[in-house]
């Protein structure tokens, strides 16, 4: 549904952008040729034309609307990030106040040799990639299944998206129970399946006990267990995004491919999935950015010390700043996170802008 909106919006925006760039005039206004006469140099416009332009451009009229929320965003988001950067240069520690007179980049050089930072950085990347790819795949499969004219479609969709409405505190508690090594559902199910196999394969005893693990305690499985649980929570979101993408594809294309005698799998592989690029990209950006800031889930499970096998930058930042009171160092970790997020969303927003979809 949103895709349709976006599409119609993109058309209009695209048109606007064109006029915007070639005229340097404001978008959306009816093209007036009155101003075209005063040439391309907007360096020194006389006051009359500036006034008309301001009036025509509705800048002043619109200011009371976006100004106050814009001020809050500027202060809390961009001001705070700038301040955070300055704090990261101060070397501030402990209970006192930061000293802004001596600034150095020492925190950042320390990061490069800090083993716990390197481990957290690596885990963050692993989480970001594996979690994103896994959620996208499961979400895509779900969307394709749900899109096959099923009955009770609403019910299925509602159930698949349900985990997304829960707090990470809640889901972390559910999963700590699921992963309980002795009586949790995961290991109980594995034991059940192993039991069935054992009794079926009667000529030999299959030793499959190794399949039950202390998923959240064993350094080998911690991160995988976290990724699996987060996939459980987010794949429904991917389904919603893909479903919107699928619904935007004209059904004539399915029909045409079907009449050509292509199998369902081929239709999806060759015709449908290639058209879901935009959905994949926007869902991937949201997932990756989430993976960068995933904190609540790990904090509830492990507190400030998930151990080097599951530590991620978001948790490390909190531990360093709010547990050890190394504020400047924590701010430096946060800046790394910010730059990572920026390197994901920067290109995305630029692409959206180029396609006229911002």
């Amino acid at each position: 549904m949103f895709d349709r909106i976006r599409r119609s919006l993109s058309k209009r925006r695209g048109a606007d952008d064109g006029s915007h760039r070639e005229r340097g005039d404001n978008a959306g206004d009816a093209p007036s040729d009155g101003l075209r006469a005063d040439g391309g140099t907007a360096a020194e416009p006389d006051s009359a034309s500036l006034a008309t332009r301001l009036r025509r451009s509705q800048f002043l009229e619109s200011l009371p609307f976006w100004g106050p929320p814009g001020f809050l965003v500027l202060l809390f988001v961009y001001g705070a990030i700038g301040w955070n950067f300055v704090i990261s240069l101060t070397g501030w520690e402990g209970l006192g106040q930061p000293n802004y007179s001596e600034l150095s980049t020492e925190a950042y050089t320390t990061l490069l040799t800090d083993a716990s930072f390197i481990a957290a950085f690596r885990n963050t990347i692993v989480l970001l990639l594996v979690f994103t790819v896994l959620s996208l795949i499961v979400g895509l499969v779900l969307a394709i299944l749900v899109d096959r004219q099923i009955r009770f479609e609403n019910t299925f969709r509602t159930i698949y998206l349900l985990p997304m409405s829960l707090s990470f505190v809640v889901t972390a508690i559910f999963w700590s129970w699921m992963y309980n090594p002795r009586i949790g559902l995961i290991n109980e199910s594995i034991r059940g399946v192993v039991g069935v196999i054992d009794s079926a394969v009667f000529w030999t005893t299959v030793e499959l006990g190794f399949l039950t693990q202390a998923w959240l305690d064993d350094p080998r499985f911690k991160l995988a267990a976290i990724i699996f649980a987060l996939m459980w929570q987010f794949s429904g979101y991917c389904m919603v995004v893909y479903l919107a993408g699928l619904r935007a594809i004209p059904s004539a294309q399915y029909e045409a491919a079907r009449i050509d005698g292509a199998s369902a799998v081929r239709v999806y592989r060759r015709v449908i999935i290639p058209q879901l690029g935009a959905s994949t990209m926007s869902a991937a950006v949201v997932l990756m950015v989430f993976a960068l800031k995933a904190f609540d889930f790990l904090f509830v499970l492990f507190g400030v010390n998930p151990g080097s096998s599951a530590d991620i930058l978001a948790v490390m930042m909190y531990r360093v700043a709010f547990d050890r009171l190394q504020w400047a160092y924590g701010s430096a970790v946060a800046m790394v996170l910010f730059v990572m997020a920026l390197s994901v969303i920067g290109p995305y927003l630029y692409l959206q802008y180029r396609r006229g979809e911002l």
Binding site: M1, F2, I5, L9, H20, N26, G28, D29, S57, Q58, F59, S62, F65, W66, G70, L72, V73, F76, I81, W83, N84, I87, L145, I150, F156, T158, I159, Y160, L161, L162, M164, S165, S167, V169, V170, I173, W175, W177, M178, L185, E188, W232, G236, V240, V285, V286, V289, F295, F299, G303, M317, Y318, W327, G330, V333, L337, A341, L349, Y353, L358
Partner: protein
């Protein structure tokens, strides 16, 4: 009916068979996924009704056996979380309404009124959706300790609920970007000719917003309010950083502490998790469609 078909009967019936079988497989997979998504909730729900012996002796998803059924876990969890529930509501409801309102006017100013450079301002709003909050945590604590509302505004209410007020304002500010994005997608579909006609009649931007835009905004307000309420209610990070006073603890923090102090008491933990999640679960069950739209609009 196909006239060219040379092997009419056999072929069609086997095709129907195949379709039927693939439909059955489809529903089997769909139901399997239902089990996957509901298993943690279902086993949590069952566990919450069991005694300690009960959940140790039975499979997590099985209903409580005779004699092992209890509501004790729910009672204890509710006692522990009731203050948090009230605090969360006091914090989340104003923050949600304010963010939605700010998002609405910002989207109007950036979409239905046009001026040069608005794309740049809009980009700053959109980027705000994706900011990792870790990058603002330390300055935020500094900021709120400087502002220190409690001593600046000599009201008992402000003094008592300083942490919650700070948290509420913080959530309002960080909610504005996503609310703006949601409203903008909707406002871009509003017929421009209608607005233009009103403008030619001499209506000011404020009048147009009040008379035309706002009445049309009811559906998108529903989407935004529901989505944003869920986000604010569910947050833990801002709450643990900004609220230190135990009497101002929100429900996610209280639940985390409950989990930390009753480590092996899974029945208690599960009951607590459901109590803390109840408001968002109710909202989701009643307004799932709006929630899905909010989630999809984030992209």
């Amino acid at each position: 009916m196909s006239t060219e078909s040379t092997t009419p009967r056999d072929d069609t019936s086997s095709r129907f068979d195949r379709i039927d079988r693939s439909r059955v497989a489809l529903y089997a997979v769909l139901l399997g996924m239902v089990a996957f998504y509901l298993a943690p909730l279902e086993s949590g729900f069952m566990t919450a009704f069991k005694t300690t012996d009960g959940f140790r002796a039975t499979t997590p998803f099985a209903p409580p056996p005779a004699g092992e059924f209890t509501l004790g876990a729910w009672q204890l969890a509710f006692d522990r979380l009731s203050t948090g529930l009230v605090n969360s509501a006091m914090m989340a409801i104003p923050a949600t309404i304010l963010s939605a309102f700010f998002g609405s006017i910002a989207a109007y100013g950036l979409t239905n009124l046009s001026w040069r450079g608005q794309i740049g301002v809009l980009a700053l709003f959109v980027a705000g959706v994706f900011i990792p909050y870790q990058a603002v945590l330390v300055p935020l604590t500094q900021f709120w300790s400087f502002v220190d509302l409690g001593t600046r505004i000599p009201l008992a209410f402000v003094d008592d609920y300083q942490g919650l007020i700070n948290l509420s304002i913080t959530h309002t500010a960080y909610g504005i970007p996503i609310c703006t994005v949601l409203f903008r997608a909707y406002y871009a579909t509003i017929d421009e000719e209608m607005i233009e006609a009103a403008r030619l009649d001499g209506a000011s931007a404020a009048t147009i917003y009040r008379r035309i835009i706002l009445p049309l905004s009811v559906p998108i307000f529903a989407v935004t309010l529901i989505y944003q309420f869920t986000q604010v209610w569910n947050d833990l990070l801002f709450a643990i950083v900004l609220v230190s006073d135990p009497s101002n603890r929100v429900v996610t923090v209280a639940l985390n502490q409950l989990q930390g102090s009753f480590v092996q008491q899974y029945n208690l933990q599960m009951a607590g998790a459901f109590i803390a999640a109840l408001p968002t679960l109710i909202v989701y069950v009643l307004f799932g469609e709006q929630f899905a739209k909010g989630v999809a609009g984030e992209t």
